[in-house]
Amino acid sequence: VREAVVSTQSTGFRVQAPPEETSQKKDDHSYTFDLAVVGGGSGGLACAKEAAKLGAKVCVFDFVHPSPYKTTWGLGGTCLNVGCIPKKLMHTASIYGELMEDAASFGWDDAAKNDHSWSSMVGSVQGHIKKQNWSLRIDLQEKDVTYYNEYAAFVDSHTLKGVNKRGKEREVTANKIVLAMGGRPNYPDIPGASEYAITSDDIFSLKYNPGKTLCVGASYISLECAGFLHGLGIDTTVMVRSILLRGFDEDCAQKIGEYMEAIGVKFLRPATPTKIECVKEAADGNPPELKVTFLQDGVEKSETYNTVLFAIGRTPLTSKVNPDSIGLKYESNGKVPVNEAEQTNVENVYALGDIIKAPELTPLAIQSGRLLARRLFGESKLLTDYQNVPTTVFTPIEYGCCGLSEEAAIAKYGAENIEVYHTKHTPTEQVVREPSERDGFNYAKMVCVKSENEKVVGLHYLGPHAGEVIGGFALGLTMGATKSDFDRLVGIHPTSSEVFTTLKITKSSGESIEDEDC
């Protein structure tokens, strides 16, 4: 406990006070902390704070090694600093551009789309992030969680060694250890990649407008970045090896690709980059000129871009935590296998968040962090439910979903046992705007199991406000709602969400879902 410094008495000090040795511990053990958390992101912080609330003595290690582009950030993990938050903000910025175009049809005559200021947007976004970094740090202090801005690794199963940015080391012992270090973006093994290209680690704080950009990858990260860059008026190309959004519903993934192409995002597919060279260095606030050589259909081609962004996958930081010293089991891709209680093969070591095989989503990490803390230090026995976790891809046409994709449902229940209801829809907000290439893509789909009373096992929505539409309906899926439950529900009009209360046409009937006539 630190002494209050704001007083007229002289209490100046320059040395960090160590945690008190005499404070109560939760269980009978001789370690300094009841819980040490490695990783100060969504999952780690939620776990640490919940444990502290339950009376445990907790510390959190968080440290960000700069990216190859030398970007670094503060407390809060991927979501706050280089993920969900800046992504959603920049996606929102690009949607504003679209809405300004549509505003004219609503009578805003002067709503011409102006030039977008990249640096102004980055300033706003980073200002918010830094404010949150600060708040999180203060929050930990207020909740009596010790925070070490150090890179931690195992010495043994109860001892962690932290190293700060000046190389100073500290050893800490803990009864339980939770690993929640998350992951970092992958770079391909081709010349010039780490020297000249950037990743999602860097785009959200880029000091200059990225200019003509190539996004490599078919992940949601690649498509979301390409989407908002294009929306901000930037010449954007996506390079894809095969299919888009692997793991997501194929039908919807395809429609997303078609929409992005329709609005002008360029696609190079199938293609893979083989080399990146710098033609002109970045200077005076301007981006560099990079020559990208790639193979498309077996033919070698090249093109010049100002920015190349790799979004080809992420790897958990498991290998960096010295896992072999404690015999921690982990897979070649870094994922740590855990049981349903997030426990690893090492009895007192747990893992959650992006480093385990589960949907890599902030609310899931937070939920599992909190429930784990309650099981370890409280009376709870509640386990995290990893089924039916809803999510949204914030591409220019948003895609929200919960439950199984159509393919996964067919694989699980058999094609004859699946009934798919679907429809196109036009949100009322869009009926007045001028006809454009954006029309005709809004779509809703419900996947049902015939033998279980048409129980709804998958919900899919393409259109605006996808997260808001799907979020509430996820409750229906977790509670076992059937098609007739949805039919009995009275929707709100006029909204997009009501589309799920009036689905009539099945895929199996072959009926058209197109608008017939005016």
Binding site: V5, V6, T11, F13, R14, H128, K130
Partner: protein, 140 residues
């Protein structure tokens, strides 16, 4: 006259300034003008913290509205004060460890330091009169 003109042509405004200013300074009552700097390294902080001149450490952040209001007024008060006092602006995003050491929990946070000790301070934006009052009292 030609010689006079030749020499006078070479006298320009900046030359005049460099003659007149010291003259004015010599005849006006002296004022201890403290320095106002923004911290660039932790070593710089140690110097200010341990030094004999009282220093007002202004912990701030770029995203903090009240900080943006307080800092210029504080600077004005520091520069106008008759007693010598320096002002040191510390960006908490850059120097988070320092802010943590000094228990800065919310900003703007101002601490008066001198000879290795914290001798006073306050949190939050304050009107100019209160700042003058604070400095007057603490520098007695």
């Amino acid at each position: 006259f030609q010689t006079f003109q030749h020499y006078f042509k070479r006298i320009n405004l900046s030359m005049l300034r460099s003659i007149v200013r010291p003259l004015i300074r010599a005849v006006t009552p002296s004022r201890s003008v403290g320095s106002v700097t923004t911290l660039t390294s932790e070593d710089e902080f140690d110097e200010a913290f341990n030094g004999p001149t009282p220093t007002l450490v202004d912990f701030y952040a770029d995203w903090c509205g009240p900080c943006k209001q307080l800092s210029p007024i504080l600077r004005k008060v520091v520069e106008a004060h008759t007693k010598e006092v320096n002002m040191l602006l510390v960006n908490v995003d850059e120097f988070g460890d320092l802010a943590h050491e000094f228990d800065v929990m919310s900003i703007p946070c101002v601490k008066l330091v001198k000879e290795g000790k914290v001798v006073g301070g306050f949190v939050g934006n304050k009107p100019e009169e209160k700042l003058v009052e604070f400095l007057d009292k603490e520098l007695e």
